[in-house]
């Protein structure tokens, strides 16, 4: 059906794959910020700046790639990923520190005010980074495909629209799925999803640093489940983003994954505000 416009299927496939990764991040952030006033603006701002960033990165792709003795794009990807990890971790820690304060507010207004202080900019930044990384590949792909002349613009547009729609639909599915979690568990569930998202990103960042020859691999293919579930398959790709599934991880990736969970988990626990009545100062850490 799609091939009525030749070239629309490959376009749809590539666009879908890249959009999906960013859409899953957006879906998780949306679930984690449910009910927060003004979160829509932050999310849209993140997506918007991510799109602009993606165009810029695509424009300077070659300059980035050839920087640092040809390791520029690996370094860039790693930095983007680790920045996102930092932002996600910061958000978890903040929530842990202030979560009780928020829960203890007696009135809806008080709660809204306390929650309004949440560092939504951190999550907005995470979205921007995810959209930037995936978006730059889409821009480069679309530009190349269009310039290649084998695919007509309508086919490219149709394929991209389908890919975009499909990716967004799956991101939405994750969000709606998370909304079915009872309110009293939603916070814990989304916190864990954010921690695993961060751990997966840290492992991905480590892989890029190995590729850039800045980190030892500590053994490649510690396990190989690529025959059982490849990241190229839809479920594999979704798990790759959500929990950091890697069919053939190197040792250092596993280390980064576990260390990230450990650090964020430890800081979240260590900096948890004590169960004091609202308004009193927290004990020094």
């Amino acid at each position: 059906m799609l091939e009525l416009l030749p070239g629309s299927t490959p376009s749809a496939v590539v666009v879908f794959r890249e959009v999906l990764e960013a859409a899953l991040v957006v879906g998780i952030v949306m679930a984690a910020t449910r009910g927060i006033r003004g979160r829509g603006a932050w999310i849209l701002a993140g997506i918007g700046s991510g799109v602009i960033g993606a165009c810029l990165v695509a424009l300077f792709a070659e300059a980035i790639r050839s920087a640092a003795s040809g390791m520029g794009s690996e370094l860039f990807n790693a930095i983007v990923l680790f920045l996102a990890v930092l932002m996600l971790g910061w958000h978890c820690v903040w929530m842990s520190r202030h979560g009780r304060e928020i829960a203890q507010q007696m009135t809806a207004v008080g709660r809204a005010v306390a929650e309004g202080a949440r560092p939504l900019y951190a999550l907005s930044f995470v979205i921007a980074l995810a959209v930037l990384r995936e978006g730059s590949e889409i821009v480069l792909f679309l530009y190349g495909f269009a310039a290649g002349g084998q695919v007509s613009l309508p086919a490219l547009a149709l394929g991209s629209a389908i890919g975009l729609g499909g990716g967004i639909a799956l991101g939405l599915a994750i969000y709606l799925g998370l909304l079915r979690v009872p309110m009293r568990h939603l916070f814990a569930v989304t916190t864990w999803m954010i921690i695993l998202l961060a751990a997966g990103m840290a492992a991905q960042g480590a892989a890029f640093l190995v590729q850039a020859d800045l980190l030892p691999a500590l053994g490649k293919g510690i396990w190989d489940t690529s025959k059982i579930l490849s990241e190229k398959q839809l479920v594999g790709q979704i798990l790759h983003v959500l929990v950091g599934y890697d069919s053939r991880p190197s040792g250092i990736q596993i280390v980064f994954y576990l260390v990230t969970i450990g650090i964020i988990g430890f800081l979240t626990w260590r900096l948890k505000s004590p169960a004091a009545p609202a308004g009193s100062a927290p004990r020094p850490a």
């Binding site: 794959r17 040809g70 794009s73 820690v93 480069l140 792909f141 530009y143 190349g144 590729q211 490649k220």
Partner: protein, 122 residues
């Protein structure tokens, strides 16, 4: 915004943790040097040439991918742990291995129908 991020005790602790991790990485990164053998792969008309290369097992080798097309291609291999967008007319090199005997697939993600190949390790 920088003041907000860095001005609090939480962020200072996170920064300390991150810096410690980075220091460990720097130490760990001191590992023996470069690969000897180089294998060249070209991308032309969105196909790899050669589509199959054979490399020896158990050692690190360098794979040079030259994109002779006008437009970008994303070279990717799940099993070789390699992923990079290579612009038209540009080239990129990757260190792969040491690898166990077997077949490792790679693709050009932007043109997956035609751009595929294997690295056979023996």
């Amino acid at each position: 915004m920088i003041v907000i991020i860095f001005g609090s005790e939480n962020m200072r602790m996170m920064a300390k943790a991150s810096l410690t991790a980075l220091a460990l990485i720097a130490v760990a990164a001191l590992h023996p040097a470069a690969a000897q053998e180089s294998y060249v792969l070209t991308i032309k008309d969105h196909k790899f040439d050669p589509a199959e290369i054979t490399v020896p097992a158990g050692q690190e080798v360098t794979l040079v991918v030259k994109n002779m097309d006008d437009t970008a291609e994303e070279f990717e291999s799940e099993t070789l742990d390699v992923e990079e967008v290579i612009g038209g007319g540009q080239e990129a090199s990757f260190k792969i291995g040491p690898l166990e005997a077997g077949t490792y697939e790679f693709v050009g993600e932007f043109h997956e129908d035609s751009a595929k190949g294997n690295v056979v390790v023996q």
